[in-house]
Amino acid sequence: MSTSEKFVQMVLAIVLFYSVMAIILLLTQRLRSRAGERVQAAAFLGPSLLLIGIGLLYPAIVTAWQSLHGAALFDPPFVGLDNYKTLFTNPQEITVLRNTLLWVVLTPLFSTGIGLGYAVIIDRARFEKFAKALIFMPIAISMVGASIIWKFVYDYKAGGSEQIGLLNQILVWLHLDTYNFLLTDPWNTLFLIVILIWIQAGFAMTILSASIKAIPDDIVEAARLDGVGGWKMFRYITVPSIRPSLIVVLTTITIATLKVFDIVQTATGGNFNTSVLAYEFYRQNFVAGDQGLATAIAVVIFILVTPVVIYNIRQMRKLEGR
């Protein structure tokens, strides 16, 4: 398709969508009776419910069922929980689980820690807005873009040739040995995690900074009059006051981390033992062709993410209720 054909298709799709919606609304707008209300509700809700039913509910059920089946493309045999057993016993998959654990523990902790520290330092400092915008910027960047940005930091040239990766050049300047950051596991996973921390710290900083500013001034003043300052102020006033926001930030980043796929795909292509669950799902399904194992991994992601999401939503509601 040429460029103009694509735009024509796009405009057609949009016009089609809005015409259908307009016709539905026009047809139902005259109805005023009780039965009419039901028809109207169906008109307002129908398209969304249909899409959610076909696109989320049905596939989720099929996936759960498929995870109990083998790898064959046609009529895969029923294998019970074998795929789950593979996931938790196969050495390769255990590396995947180890990496996922590293990601899920380290990313939220460091992103939130750095974000909180920065929010405290920057509070009422000069250039506050400018500095915050710089820290926050990576969140607008795609993880693909971020990984390419960091390839320019981690790149390694063997032998005596000139380094084009910034970190290795710094090592050279410090007269230290250069290092191939993305090659040796488990350390390479840590360097990939740095990329996500770089992205998420700005998110944590923004949310936490806003809640620090929302701490009532009289509480801070009262503590100050009692001689509380510096570290104690942070430990006994700031942190307890923003505890709910801290939890929301931690859980939110945890959810995002459990689904991290783009960074692994772009930075290492899952090589050198850097795979994580979300990447392994993709690899098993679309590269290795083992739909049974892939769907089992998807179910495991679902099971891991569910309690965190529920906890996150409950904390959000608490925050709103205040």
Binding site: M1, K6, Q9, M10, A13, Q40, A41, F44, L45, P47, L49, L51, I54, G55, L56, Y58, P59, A60, T63, I121, I122, R126, F127, A131, L134, A140, I141, S142, M143, I148, I149, K151, V153, E162, I164, L166, W198, A210, K213, D217, R224, S245, T252, L258, K259, D262, T266, Y282, N285, F286, Q291, T295, A298, I301, F302, V305, T306, V309, M316, E320
Partner: protein, 316 residues
């Protein structure tokens, strides 16, 4: 809206300086100067990787491949050739022009359609009476949790081989080159969260407003278009920006559902990394083209952006 803090709070906190004694103020000024410098240094360090990419994208191919971007300070040389290569039309291997167009063509409907559908559904959940309303709402709410990985495999099968002799949306004869697959998928994945958030926002609008409109003889459609839509605009904008970024930056959905002809920039960049990983000048300029549009949105709409981001943070 599901905000931890409101915009008003952010503004208030920034504009009310606390009162202190003179000596405390002096001490604070001193420590705040140190803090300012530390904060600025960290911000600069945080930005160096992105800056390095920007500089690299303007360096000639030979330079990018043999020396680090920091050497421009001692040995400056710049070119626009990388951007010409990446943005030139035609089907040359290194051109991202088609993928840039695809990203735009994918993103616009994938933002407009789910928001429109979700606003309608949210209105029904908030202000209409019908049987099974709460059960349905809780079901939609609960489906937010489903990670998209769980849906991809069966959904792809539905597109390739739909039941009841419906037209396949994937494959060689797919309508619009397979774009419908992407539009519909992004719509599906956006809906539960969008409905939930817009519903929360709609419930905050006073019921008397709706009641008095009904007494005056307005039907649901009039109330929706004349009263609700204008009032909902800030919430719609916040979610719209979030959805825009989500679709524009998405890799997984695009990898699974897009044919090469309609694949967006993220997919092309990943394949460039794989196949032409040593063509650093193309990676740099290509990545920068894909970054610049969300960055512009971010810089111009920062306030909505934060709200949208926070609201949508559990998606995916």
């Amino acid at each position: 809206m599901t905000g931890v803090v409101t915009d008003a709070q952010i503004v208030d906190a920034e504009s009310t300086p606390p009162q202190r004694s003179a000596s405390e103020a002096a001490k604070d000024a001193l420590s705040s100067r140190t803090a300012s410098i530390v904060a600025l240094v960290i911000a600069v360090i945080w930005t160096i990787p992105t800056f390095g990419l920007l500089v690299s994208s303007f360096r000639p191919e030979e330079d990018v491949k043999t020396s680090g971007w920091w050497t421009i300070f001692t040995n400056p040389s710049f070119t626009l050739q990388n951007y010409k290569d990446v943005l030139s039309g035609g089907s040359s291997q290194e051109s991202l022009y088609n993928n840039l167009i695809n990203s735009i063509v994918i993103t616009i409907p994938a933002v407009l359609i789910p928001i429109s559908l979700a606003t309608l559904a949210a209105y029904a959940f908030a202000w209409m009476d019908f049987k099974g309303k709460y059960v349905l709402f809780i079901a939609v709410f609960a489906l937010q949790i489903v990670p998209i990985q769980v849906t991809l495999v069966p959904l792809l099968k539905l597109y390739v081989d739909p039941p009841f002799n419906l037209m396949p949306l994937a494959g060689r004869d797919a309508p619009a080159g397979g774009l419908y697959e992407l539009w519909i998928s992004h719509t599906i994945f956006a809906l539960p969260l969008a409905i939930f958030l817009l519903h929360n926002f709609m419930r905050e609008i006073p019921g008397e407003l709706i009641e008095s409109a009904r007494v005056d003889g307005a039907g649901h459609v009039q109330i929706f278009t004349r009263i609700m839509l204008p009032l909902m605009m800030p919430a719609i904008a916040a979610f719209g920006i979030f959805q825009f970024l989500w679709v524009w930056n998405d890799l997984l959905v695009a990898l699974v559902f897009s044919s090469p002809e309609v694949s967006p920039m993220t997919v092309k960049l990943v394949s460039l990394v794989g196949e032409r990983g040593q063509d650093w000048q193309l990676l740099a300029s290509g990545a920068f083209v894909s970054l610049i549009i969300p960055l512009i949105v971010f810089l111009s709409l920062q306030r909505y952006f934060v709200r949208g981001l926070l609201a949508g943070s559990v998606k995916g």
